[in-house]
């Protein structure tokens, strides 16, 4: 008997291990020409794990506080061995994770995988996307550099525009009227404790739902396979799909390593609350479409302030996005055409505005 078999038997005698992993063996992944889109969620999860690991490493040296944060990141990048690499991987992985999360979301949208009975999977996924953007926003401030300082000023001010609860929300986020060291301490707490806790919980729910319901098949194919069950193609999740997914993760790790090593992340200039916002200031790419929209809305639209209108519009669209599956028809042969049009428009808007925001002065 090999060592592995011994371990397995030991576990079986105590935990009925084979029963525990039985669902994994039964699980299968539909096989069709769009199957490769199924990898994106897993890659996002992989990048999240990288974030947790590199985040823990950064915590060993990072010190929150307006007088220490910038210097501690500088110390990580210049004194600690491979500190620059760990930080660079953390930053690159964060950006890649947001990208893969967006890509995963749009793939789910276009493949109509959010349809009944998977509404809650979609809702948990969209909430996870919001959380990931919260991670990006809170983590961005932690090095306490000029760009981060103004991005946080603008971002929290946007939250302050929400009618009725805006002002208390702004004070809560900033830890006072202004963006100061108190804001940094709060953001640090959100970034390393509150958000990871919430994200872990939501990821568990998200994965459990997928485990429970199996993987969705595109609507057209679902109908075809229902009519001709013999045409149905599947791949075992374990080990066949799992090994392919692992290869995708391995490639992801390669891309991440190359990006982090060849284009190490900048630290910028230490924030000075009493300096002007530098020319050409822009938020991270995933906030650009909102930034550019706010820039284009005039000061007053009718009786309402432009930025309040912007915040209300984004809030309404965000809510609609979250609840999108509940507007879809239950019949896969008759999907609601407006949802597909809305999805195409949303993708075009986000991409177009991001490019415009990137190029605009």
């Amino acid at each position: 008997m090999t060592l592995l078999q011994n371990v397995r038997q030991w576990l079986n005698e105590r935990l009925e291990w084979d029963d525990l992993i039985e669902p994994l063996r039964k699980k299968s992944v539909p096989l069709h020409k769009l199957s490769y889109w199924y990898f994106l969620g897993g890659i996002t999860l992989f990048l999240f794990v990288i974030q947790v690991l590199t985040g823990i490493l950064l915590l060993l040296y990072y010190r929150p506080g307006a007088n220490e944060a910038f210097e501690s990141v500088q110390y990580i990048m210049t004194q600690v061995q491979f500190g620059w690499l760990i930080r660079s991987i953390h930053s690159w992985s964060a950006n890649l994770m947001i990208f893969t999360a967006f890509a995963h979301m749009f793939s789910v949208l276009f493949l109509k995988a959010y349809r009944k009975p998977r509404e809650l999977t979609w809702v948990s996924g969209v909430l996870l996307l919001f959380l990931v953007m919260g991670f990006g926003f809170s983590g961005y401030l932690l090095p306490w550099n000029t760009l981060a300082f103004f991005a946080t000023k603008v971002g929290t001010d946007i939250a302050g525009q929400v009618p009725v609860i805006g002002k208390p929300l702004l004070i809560f986020l900033r830890g006072g009227e202004e963006v100061t060291g108190a804001t940094l301490t709060r953001f640090f707490g959100f970034h390393v404790a509150v958000l990871p806790g919430l994200a872990t919980l939501l990821i568990l729910i998200h994965v459990l739902l997928i485990q429970r319901q199996g993987i969705s098949v595109p609507a057209k194919l679902e109908l075809e396979w229902k009519a001709h069950p013999a045409e149905r193609r599947e791949m075992k999740f374990f080990p066949n799909f799992m090994l392919r997914e692992l290869m995708a993760w391995y490639m992801g790790l390669g891309v991440l390593g190359v990006l982090a090593a060849i284009f190490p992340w900048n630290l910028g200039v230490k924030a000075d609350p009493f300096s002007s916002a530098p020319a050409g200031i822009k938020p991270e790419w995933y906030f650009l479409f909102m930034f550019q929209t706010l820039k284009l809305i005039p000061a007053k639209v009718g009786f309402i302030d432009g930025e309040v209108l912007g915040v209300l519009l984004f809030g309404a669209v965000g809510l609609l996005w979250l609840l999108l599956p509940f507007f879809e028809s239950d019949d896969p042969s008759r999907p609601k055409p407006w949802i597909s049009r809305f999805a195409v428009f949303a993708l075009a808007y986000v991409a177009g505005m991001s490019v415009y925001g990137h190029l605009a002065k």
Binding site: I281, K295, K300
Partner: protein
């Protein structure tokens, strides 16, 4: 008469609600930071004569907020709040345009702080400037 079970439920339920309120209230209050004691800054020395060349500006500290001191091309001093009324970035003086500019969303104000283009919805608060000897004093504008 109230059955015994119902009485126990009400007692227990009220107890739970009271416990929840008693635990949540301090937490909610804890989340709101204490008000910073602003020492009521009304007047500060924003700079020294000769420090600014004509047609330039600088940021100065006005209490806990930034202010903008401008020396116009003709040599006058102007001072105003440097917090953009759009989304509170810190503005700057643009000598090439003779205007106040916010780099974040391209907002423009004239030398009297009036919002002239871009997204800012309101003018910047204008301060009074007094040159006393070598020092340039800036104080909050008093009506009347």
């Amino acid at each position: 008469m109230l059955p015994r079970r119902r009485f126990a439920e009400i007692l227990l339920g009220t107890g739970f609600v009271a416990t929840a309120v008693a635990s949540l209230y301090p937490v909610l209050r804890y989340l709101i930071p204490p008000k910073a004691t602003d020492l009521g800054t009304d007047s500060v020395v924003a700079g020294h004569a000769g420090e600014l060349k004509p047609n330039s500006g600088k940021i100065f500290r006005f209490g806990s907020r930034p202010g903008l001191l401008i020396r116009t091309a003709s040599g006058d001093y102007r001072a105003m709040s440097a917090t953009c009324t759009h989304l509170s970035c810190t503005v700057q003086y643009r000598g090439d345009l003779h205007e106040v500019w916010c780099a974040c969303h391209n907002g423009m104000y004239d030398l009297n702080g009036r919002n002239v283009s871009g997204p800012p919805p309101r003018p910047l608060e204008l301060f009074d400037v007094q040159v006393r000897g070598d020092e340039i004093f800036v104080r909050r504008h008093r009506e009347g």
